[in-house]
Subunit: 320 residues, 2 copies
Amino acid sequence: MEVLGVDLGGTKLALAVFSEGGEILSSESLPLGSRSGKEAGSFVTGLIRANLERARSEGLNIGSVGVSVPGISMVRTGTVWAPNIEGWIDYPLYREIKEAAGDIPVLIDSDRACSILGEVWMGNAKGCRDAVFLAVGTGIGAGILSNGEVLRGSDDIAGAIGWMALDRPFHSKYKNYGCFEYNASGDGMARVAREFLEKENDYSGMLRQLAPGTITSRHIFAAMDAGDKLADQVLGQCIVFWGMAVANIVSLLNPEKVILGGGVFGPAVRFIPEITKESELWAQPVSIRKVKIEASGLEGEAAVYGAGYLALKNPNALNH
Amino acid sequence: MEVLGVDLGGTKLALAVFSEGGEILSSESLPLGSRSGKEAGSFVTGLIRANLERARSEGLNIGSVGVSVPGISMVRTGTVWAPNIEGWIDYPLYREIKEAAGDIPVLIDSDRACSILGEVWMGNAKGCRDAVFLAVGTGIGAGILSNGEVLRGSDDIAGAIGWMALDRPFHSKYKNYGCFEYNASGDGMARVAREFLEKENDYSGMLRQLAPGTITSRHIFAAMDAGDKLADQVLGQCIVFWGMAVANIVSLLNPEKVILGGGVFGPAVRFIPEITKESELWAQPVSIRKVKIEASGLEGEAAVYGAGYLALKNPNALNH
């Protein structure tokens, strides 16, 4: 039996046919373009249909389809919420894909859930039953695996770790992001850099040359590589926040692994030793000694691997 | 079928025979005294044996025994770590109780795990599948129920929320307690009061009359009731920490209920509206709107109820 994994990102769509052993037998990746609402849905289901047909013609037996969505998958209703795809507020994705897949089972989960499943299947958390994927990109989220199962919470929105309170007192600027995300996501790094620029009047380095509104995390990493002291200060503060968040994951959940992924890790993987050191200050001492803190082993493909594993784990699929 | 629930506290032992419906058919409570090591073990097993015999003589059919321990229960080894009972570092409690119970199944879990199970069975989290018991006493811990199961982590030490990082930067004084517990456990309240006393030279109220080393959370609550402004300040800060911790539980785990229990809640239940308000500032907005934050519904008996439910949930017991 094979499975089809689909990673529906905010801007692109990746599909891969996996063997039960996790080998990619075929794959494709396409931009989602400006598609929104039902048009985005038809695009996805069309590609799933085409992939299932092609697999069948090649003599493959696709037992199940797994789909990763960039947002929240509501298991009870089969609908998804994906803020980056216009019109996908409570979108009936399950029903649409099920129609395309016929009698092949369909499983849908969030990208953060799929990312940790991917790491557990074929990445740096291979074989773990308790592991967390901390995704730091434009925003921040966590995929939590507990005793082999994705931790969903009562409304499928567990893992909203961008909202973690890490620094007293509350500031109203946290209101739309959460304290952790405000300070330490990709966009957060740029926000913090702008705040530092306002205070550091003596600074005239690389970041001062940019219009403040145009600064991104890329500029900050580049400035740091060039020895810029304000970029250094921003990243120093991010390392404290990332370390505190990792510590809180470890103390509360006692996982075997914490995987740092998302667009920022990426360039921030070089700081994992410093993040680990910061987390060691704060966390439960036995749990932090036992946990391993690592970069993603799948270089941006964790979610599509996880979608494949989601499909494979489905017990109905195994009887198919 | 009935079950026997045993709550082994640090200083006392409570036993109760429960019906399947959660009614207490008989119960007793005894001080553990100064018993330690094997002597404490024999005391516990002796009482379990006596309770099983009495139940049998009364025509009751005890299908299973559940035991709550004040520390950590290592499921794989059957041993427990209970810092308040001398010599119980890696103590073979399962083997000893199993010997006393004969062919009746025995289940052991931590007091925090049992507390949330008790609330789910017969307390304020009745019927919840995702709920958290935040126990604030001398120390701080959390019992986490996720999708109907106790969340254990990979070494049975999940829920060590006293170590939660809530306030930058790290201070070495947190080293033995964790940041949250240092600031907001029962003992933490006394520590913070002592720190405030050192700084507030103008203050000459009730707490100034005590030798600093003798101050306890009781004194602080009593001073607050009498309108003392330093006590007010201590509790104001605790409310912020409790609110941030509740927020982090809610954002990360998306539970239906957070139950506040332990010795401090108790007197601090009056602050639940203020704690809720603080947590609303920080937490994921949908999750915090849906969660209910409440006091324990079992007034200090959550763990013995939970031990009973632990026994009842054991599938072997149901076939007995």
